[in-house]
């Protein structure tokens, strides 16, 4: 009896491990530069549903996966707001999406998002990726994680993936404003110099 339990549990472990490895190889790596990004319909903190297609006048979007609870995301809050102030009326609004599972990270529940947005005076939509269906399609792995999209005939084309700038600690010491440079290039019809950058962030909580 004991032996059979051992065999069964050994089998179960083997199955589990193989399931895990199989799953891993199937993980969608997400968007590359030039891919067409999916639209979505996600609930904003004001209760309304928001889609990219709602922005008829937009030339593109600064989609930022961010949250309340990650210190890196918090360090960038004011800079994200500044991006929206600077670029929304030039046709590139910020669309913030909170990708964490709020059951795992209670500080990212809708009420907490509402409170944070109110306290900081966010003027951009702050959407909840309820069910966590959108961030995996983009391939976001962390907060903050930026995708700049350009509205084209083919759809919303991914033009930039990565960090906001090159210094999370101190805005005054920033030497490369990756997102601003990318949007400026798009607005001027120029090639974006740095299309992909990387920054430390908090893993998305599932």
């Amino acid at each position: 009896m004991k032996k059979s339990i051992k065999i069964v549990s050994a089998l179960a472990i083997v199955l589990l491990i193989s399931a895990f490895t199989l799953n891993k190889t199937n993980i969608n790596p997400g968007y590359q530069i030039g891919d067409i990004a999916t639209d979505f319909s996600l609930k904003n903190i004001d209760g309304n549903m928001v889609s990219l297609k709602d922005y008829k006048e937009a030339k593109g979007y600064i989609v930022i996966f961010t949250c309340n609870t990650c210190p890196y995301a918090v360090a960038y809050e004011d800079r994200v707001e500044a991006l929206n102030k600077k670029y929304a009326n030039q046709g590139y609004p910020v669309i913030a999406i909170m990708p964490n599972n709020p059951d795992v990270q209670p500080g990212d529940r809708l009420e907490a998002m509402q409170a944070r947005a109110k306290a900081k005076g966010f003027t951009f939509p702050y959407l909840m990726d309820r069910g966590q269906k959108i961030y995996p399609q983009y391939g976001a792995t962390k907060t903050p994680h930026v995708y700049i999209l350009e509205k084209t005939k083919k759809g919303n084309e991914v033009k930039y993936i990565g960090a906001i700038d090159d210094n999370y600690q101190d805005e005054a010491s920033v030497s490369k404003k990756y997102v601003e440079n990318a949007v400026d290039a798009l607005l001027q019809g120029k090639e974006i110099e740095e299309k992909e950058t990387r920054a430390i962030g908090c893993s998305i909580k599932v």
Binding site: G162, D166, Q169, R198, A199, I200, C202, K205
Partner: protein, 182 residues
């Protein structure tokens, strides 16, 4: 009126006495808090702080040891959850030439407030260093081309082999990976 003044004087006297005794108490308190401070200084681990160029050597040591280098921070919940497993590995593989290095990405202003108290409170036995280099786009690919930048992340290497993991570990999972290097 007279009684009032008399009372006032008495109150003043009491207040005076209180003040004097308070002052003395304060003095002794100061001394003892100094002592406490000194004790803490003695117990407090020295925190080595590096920029990436200074730190990079820890990713390329060419001796007979296997190194388990974990990138973490005190504010990173999944990092804190898996940290005991790295401590267990350090203990269990002492005789196998395995060394664990915990690389904190806490913000510099949190070193004194959060990081050092965390190391003391949890009696962390593995070596902890702080990596303070805000230009992460420049150095993340030097840790691994595969790293998107999410924490936690781990590098396991020795002079023959190297692997990178952008994920969390259970003890069994970590042990399985470390065993591949032995």
């Amino acid at each position: 009126m007279y009684t009032f003044m008399f009372m006032n004087l008495r109150v003043l006297f009491i207040v005076f006495i209180l003040l004097v005794s308070c002052k003395q108490e304060n003095k002794t308190k100061e001394v003892s808090s100094n002592l406490v401070k000194e004790n803490v200084v003695v117990e407090k681990p020295d925190l080595e702080i590096y920029n990436f160029n200074e730190f990079e050597k820890f990713l390329h040591l060419q001796d007979d040891k296997t190194y388990v280098v974990n990138f973490w921070a005190t504010w990173c919940a999944p990092c804190i959850k898996e940290l005991p497993h790295f401590e267990e590995i350090k203990e269990a593989y002492k005789s196998e030439n395995v060394e664990v290095l915990l690389v904190s990405l806490d913000f510099p202003k949190q070193y004194e407030k959060k990081l050092i108290p965390f190391i003391v409170k949890h009696k962390i036995q593995s070596k902890v260093v702080a990596l303070d280099d805000p230009d992460s786009n420049a150095w993340i690919p030097k840790v691994s081309e595969a790293w998107s930048g999410a924490l936690p992340a781990t590098v396991i290497y020795n002079k023959d082999r190297r692997a990178f993991y952008e994920r969390s570990f259970s003890y069994e999972e970590l042990k399985t990976e470390v065993d591949k290097f032995l």
